[in-house]
């Protein structure tokens, strides 16, 4: 054992309360008292480890100091991934620091050069909740949570993925809480307080698991901190200050039954800090000696107020080493290096000591695999995901490319490289991007001329400063993905459009109420007279009444719907302009459930509506509200083909949101509108059809902007009525006449399709040329979509057709929906056509299907009730930079399911291997779905996640098969069925993208090398 006290690690003689070594071992942080504030300092580890580095003037010792805490800093802790540093202090604050990537070394302006901050660490968030000094902070395994404890007797759990969100506040201690430790398995968190108790809390429900008081009852006196620690195998929890027979001890608490039979005895004064070595050890095999299997053991360091430090192995009855008089004052904190061989100790006297052990002294550290095996055996889950890097740190890297990826990964993980200025190169591009490639020098030369100077109203000069670097404040951007509660389909309105013909996606601010009316879903036909009455009165409701009814309905909702509905109600009251969101959410909500619940309020609604007055001018404003109510009404009537009499022309809203394009103007109709009178054919299923309006218009494409206007019965020629279809495309207009009333219309930038009352479907080019002869349909049109050069028709007879207008072929031939709509009450809740001509049908059961024309079958692409979705946890595999693909058809159909893993965040609720399998199954489903939807972008997105997951979980067979498939045969042979592309993506390009991912896990370096070489070989060919 070597012992060293680096004198240069100091806070100018002020106490150092906390020390923590960065997970990568290159630096460490200290926290304590500053001059008139708290102080956090980050130090270079190299000069501690090597004497030559200590003497080398060019190697910085201090990397950064932060004086931001207003009062003494009691605790500093690195996150497990090393990206963040959390500090807690007497100013009641917890600050979370992140390295500012774009800034290189700089001096503090106006100070002498020696005080240069080599690294810049920026406070990215301040967590305020405690009402007293924060004594300890701790990151949970996987960095999901950050816990902080305080003299205000509470422990606060913060959501580390979404700072500054608070998860919960644990109350129960009746004294100052002075120490925290997480169970390495993630199931518990333990705290020790001055109230003579140690409490263990469950992370599942944040309730108290056990309260241990006996060993602490005699504890008098106070220590500044009570830093307890959990053993790396999770089996033992060791407390700080406890008493046994009037002697100070560190109490060992067994996980099994929370038994307190053992303790570490020997310190003469209270134990302030206990810290387990992160490694598990086994006896070192002596050369030549018979390899006796020995029990693995843990190693623990104990620091005390008596200024001495003891290091224990759980396999020995006596301490491995005791060091007295190391400091002049109490030991405050201990930190092990991740290798388990080094230890830093800090003291109230303001100094720090470093102890270096050898393998001979401690034993052979188990590698991560063995450690995981232990975890697996004890808990049925391994912690492999987090610990791959540590585990492989000793593996020899055989391949230079591999080395590159490993290094890149490290760099990325640290947001720059280790100490020294080497981080500059990697950060330079960021700076440039802000400045459009201009160098700082160029900018400075012309700054005076270029800068914008204005005069304020009172004549003062005002300069707009030139922003030369943006703050990387998107630090917690991964949270964006989880932050908005994604309601079914709510991801749709903001993005997309080009990808889909589904118009619920078109984020136009038109109201639902203005949609062309559709009959609602029906499995049983005709309407009753009472519903007619209801319908008739719909037009004149006053807003208040509508709101009331809305409130009523939402109150009577079943539980899962509540969130959506209350949101809806709120929104529609407050801002009528947000309907785009609402329309899609509403459209996608399975509605069956509320039919039952809502029936009781039917009368209320009806009464209110009947008493309402006609106020035409208010209507526009209330349309949104109205539509919702109507939807309710439609539903309560169990659909039915409602004949709209006395109509003022505001069509009923289609409750199923069969996404027909949204009309954006409204034309007055006169006289009774016709019923969609076509008799239903003899079919088991019947889908709702839109009813005919006098006129309507809609926008079918944003870019170029294409508007359609339809006016029925424009003129009567020889006894037959003609309808006019007018189209305006980027300002240019064309029109055409049709011999029958137009029921519905749709279009894309390439084609326009209209369905007429006489069941004829006509297709026109964007310039008005008829592209196909009129197509006779067997039953009336239920939903019509166009996308790119594809036309999709869903008829009332529940049959689906898709034509490729360009090739003049049918992709889907009159396919029945019977297969997928087998359930009793299933109705079509959404239909859309992708850019690639794949028809997608969303059902009220939450399932979505698309028709795969090459397999000629219906394929399931999304199932909202799928338990896999709930439990799959692939968050660790999400790309950190790319936003999730939310615009693809898969994302649209799955809606909130993209939020997968919500339940999975309850780390230990499902056994790890089960969750792993679920995640794998889920990801494979996603891949297959993206493939069948021909959604290349989404396929690539999920493929990368899938690969990342395989790499993290170490599933070599699958990974190998995947690579093999992507690589294809290296040598050309005639009989190969291998396609070089999938969905237009070159498979080998995909493989090239995967390689860096594979390269991140050293375990796969052989695989990496193999495929990298083959790719190189192929490229050179």
């Amino acid at each position: 054992m070597k012992l060293l006290k680096p004198s240069w690690v100091s806070h100018n003689g002020k106490p150092i309360f906390s020390v923590d070594i960065h997970p990568d071992g290159t630096k460490f942080a200290t926290g304590g008292q500053g001059e008139d504030s708290g102080k956090v300092m980050i130090w270079n580890m190299a000069p501690v480890l090597r004497e030559e580095d200590e003497k080398n003037e060019n190697i910085p010792k201090m990397l950064c100091q932060m004086d931001n805490h207003l009062a003494c800093v009691n605790c500093v802790r690195w996150s497990n991934n090393g990206l963040y540093l959390a500090s807690g202090g007497d100013d009641k604050l917890v600050m979370v620091w992140k390295r500012a990537a774009f800034i290189g070394p700089s001096t503090v302006f106006g100070s002498s050069s020696k005080l240069a901050n080599v690294e810049q660490w920026r406070c990215v968030t301040i967590l305020r909740n405690h009402t007293g000094d924060v004594m300890d902070v701790a990151w949970s395994p996987h960095d999901v949570w950050l816990a902080s404890c305080s003299v205000d007797n509470t422990i606060v759990i913060w959501n580390a993925r979404k700072f500054p969100e608070m998860v919960t506040c644990l109350r129960g201690h009746t004294g100052l809480v002075k120490g925290l430790t997480w169970d390495p398995v993630g199931k518990y968190i333990a705290s020790q307080a001055d109230d003579h108790s140690l409490k263990v809390w469950r992370t599942m429900d944040w309730q108290l698991e056990t309260n241990i008081t006996k060993p602490f009852s005699e504890c008098g006196g106070t220590t500044h901190v009570l830093r307890l620690s959990w053993s790396p195998d999770g089996q033992y929890l060791v407390s700080a200050h406890a008493m046994n027979n009037s002697g100070p001890t560190a109490q060992i608490v067994e996980r099994d039954g929370w038994k307190t039979n053992m303790d570490f005895v020997g310190h003469r004064k209270a134990v302030t800090v206990v810290k387990f070595n992160p490694k598990i050890f086994k006896k070192k095999q002596k050369n030549g000696g018979s390899p006796k299997p020995s029990c693995p053991y843990c190693c623990c360091a104990v620091g005390s107020k008596d200024r001495s430090l003891s290091v224990w192995l759980t396999s020995l009855k006596r301490p491995l080493v005791v060091i007295h008089d190391l400091f002049d004052k109490s030991i405050m904190d201990i930190s092990w290096t991740l290798t388990g061989l080094g230890i830093l100790v800090c003291s109230m006297d303001g100094t720090v000591a470093y102890l270096d052990f050898s393998l001979d002294e401690l034993g052979d550290p188990l590698n991560e695999e063995e450690k995981n095996t232990i975890h697996q055996n004890i808990y049925g889950k391994s912690l492999a995901i987090t610990s791959t890097e540590a585990q492989l740190s000793t593996t020899i890297i055989e391949n230079p490319e591999m080395l590159k990826y490993q290094q890149e990964r490290q760099n990325a993980a640290q947001a720059g490289s280790g100490p020294g200025g080497a981080g500059l190169e990697s950060t330079a591009p960021k700076l440039n991007s802000v400045m459009n490639g201009e160098s700082l020098e160029d900018i400075r030369k012309n700054l005076l001329k270029k800068q914008v100077e204005t005069r304020t109203a009172d004549g003062r000069r005002r300069i707009t400063p030139l922003c030369i670097a943006q703050l990387d404040t998107g630090d917690f951007s991964p949270a964006l993905f989880n932050s908005v509660p994604i309601l079914p389909g709510s991801s749709m309105p903001s993005q997309l459009t080009p990808q889909l013909s589904s118009d619920s996606s078109q984020g136009q601010a038109s109201s639902l109420g203005l949609r062309p009316s559709h009959d609602t879903l029906l499995t049983s036909p005709p309407p009753s007279s009472s519903t007619k009455g209801l319908e008739d009165n719909k037009d004149g409701q006053s807003p208040t009444h509508v709101k009331q009814s809305l409130l009523l309905t939402s109150a009577s909702k079943i539980e899962p719907m509540k969130a959506l509905d209350s949101r809806f109600t709120e929104r529609s009251k407050a801002t009528p302009g947000v309907t785009a969101v609402i329309s899609s959410t509403a459209g996608l909500t399975p509605l069956d459930s509320r039919a039952k619940d809502g029936s009781s309020i039917l009368k209320d609604v009806k009464n209110k509506e009947e008493t309402s007055s006609d106020s035409e001018d208010k209507m526009a404003a209330i349309n949104k509200n109205l539509s919702f109510t109507k939807r309710k009404a439609d539903l309560l009537m169990d659909g039915g083909e409602v004949v709209e009499k006395r109509k003022k022309g505001r069509p009923r809203k289609d409750k199923m949101a069969t996404p027909i394009s949204q009309p954006f103007t409204q034309v007055e109709t006169e006289g009774p509108s016709r019923a969609a009178a076509t008799p239903a054919p003899v079919a088991a299923l019947k889908l709702p059809t839109p009813s005919i309006q006098k006129a309507f218009s809609l926008q079918v494409s944003m870019e170029p902007s294409v508007f359609l206007e339809v006016e029925n019965d424009v003129s009567v020629v020889a006894g037959s009525k003609l309808s006019q279809l007018r189209c305006s495309r980027d300002g240019r207009e064309w029109d055409t006449l049709l011999p029958s009333s137009v029921v519905t219309a749709a279009g894309s930038s390439d084609v326009i399709a209209v369905a007429c009352e006489d069941r004829m479907l006509s297709v026109f080019s964007s310039c008005g040329r008829r592209l196909l002869p009129a197509i006779q349909l067997a039953t009336p049109m239920s939903a019509l979509h166009c996308s790119s050069h594809f036309v999709m028709a869903l008829t009332a007879g529940a049959r689906l057709s898709v034509w490729d207008v360009q090739k003049q072929t049918a992709l889907v031939k009159n396919e029945s929906l019977l297969t997928i709509m087998s359930g009793a009450d299933t109705t079509v809740s959404q239909s859309l056509l992708t850019q690639q001509g794949v028809p997608v049908i969303g059902l009220s059961s939450g399932k979505s299907y698309c028709f795969n024309s090459s397999l000629e079958t219906w394929t399931l692409i999304a199932d909202k009730g799928d338990s896999l979705v709930q439990c799959a946890d692939f968050r660790s595999c999400l790309p950190s930079h790319d936003a999730p693909v939310s615009s693809g058809p898969l994302a649209v159909m799955q809606g909130r399911n993209l939020n997968a893993g919500r339940l999975a965040s309850r780390l230990s609720s499902t056994p790890h291997h089960l969750q792993q399998s679920m995640t794998l199954a889920f990801l494979e489903n996603q891949l297959a779905a993206a493939l069948t939807l021909l959604s290349a972008q989404e396929y690539r997105y999920w493929l990368l996640i899938y690969a990342r997951f395989l790499v993290n979980e170490g599933s070599e067979y699958r990974l190998r098969e995947l690579c093999k498939e992507l690589l294809g045969p290296v040598h050309k042979s005639a009989a190969t069925a291998w396609e070089p592309t999938t969905l237009g993506l070159r498979k080998r390009e995909l493989l090239r993208e995967l390689l860096p991912v594979i390269g991140q896990n050293l375990r796969f370096q052989r695989l990496f090398t193999e495929y990298q070489e083959q790719l190189e070989l192929l490229r050179n060919k």
Partner: protein
């Protein structure tokens, strides 16, 4: 915690004739978007004897200031010679750059300025009435004196009591040109008794 940190001030056009405008290129960093503008001032200390000879050369609002690192050039006209006591025209004086947010000063940067004749003849026998056209202004750019104050960034309410005075170079006389008389040099820091080293 200060939301705005001054990272650097570069003195441009230095040394220069006395009549040239002052130019400071200021680089600062802001932790979060500031809802209000920063106000910067250049103050020329006309005489060490009394504050009444201080001239505010210019004040300028700087904004909007989003989170990030920013720079701008603050240019202000040379001092009005009519307001400078003749005896203080030649020699060492001070120019101050201050920045306030919501009316509270949070940083004060001071530079020593040495005004002298370039012509050796004039230097030997300075005219009784200073000839400003012949004077050269030399700002000792390498030795800024920075004083930082804790302010209430959230509101303009009462100023926080504790202030931090950063005085990185305690050896004041060492930085002065040998020709000047130390007693005459005006104090740069506001509260020298509170002064301390950055460490």
């Amino acid at each position: 915690m200060a939301k705005v940190q001054v990272l650097n001030v570069a003195v441009l056009d230095n040394p220069s004739p006395f009549g040239n405008p002052f130019q400071f290129e200021i680089t600062f960093e802001c932790m979060e978007d500031l809802p209000e503008d920063l106000e910067w001032k250049i103050i020329y200390v006309g005489s060490a004897e009394s504050e009444e000879y201080d001239q505010t050369l210019d004040s300028v609002l700087v904004g909007p200031v989003p989170a990030g690192r920013h720079m701008f050039v603050f240019q202000a006209d040379a001092p009005n010679t009519g307001l400078i006591p003749e005896s203080d025209a030649v020699g060492v004086t001070v120019v101050l750059i201050t920045c306030t947010y919501r009316g509270q000063e949070f940083i004060r940067i001071g530079y020593y300025v040495n005004n002298e004749y370039t012509d050796p003849e004039l230097r030997e026998n300075p005219p009784l009435k200073p000839d400003y056209t012949q004077l050269q202004r030399n700002i000792l750019a390498s030795n800024p004196r920075v004083t930082r104050f804790h302010i209430n960034w959230e509101g303009s309410a009462d100023r926080m009591e504790d202030s931090e005075n950063v005085d990185p170079a305690p050896n004041i006389s060492g930085m002065l040109p040998p020709s000047c008389i130390p007693g005459k040099v005006p104090p740069l820091g506001l509260m020298p008794d509170n002064s301390m080293d950055c460490m």
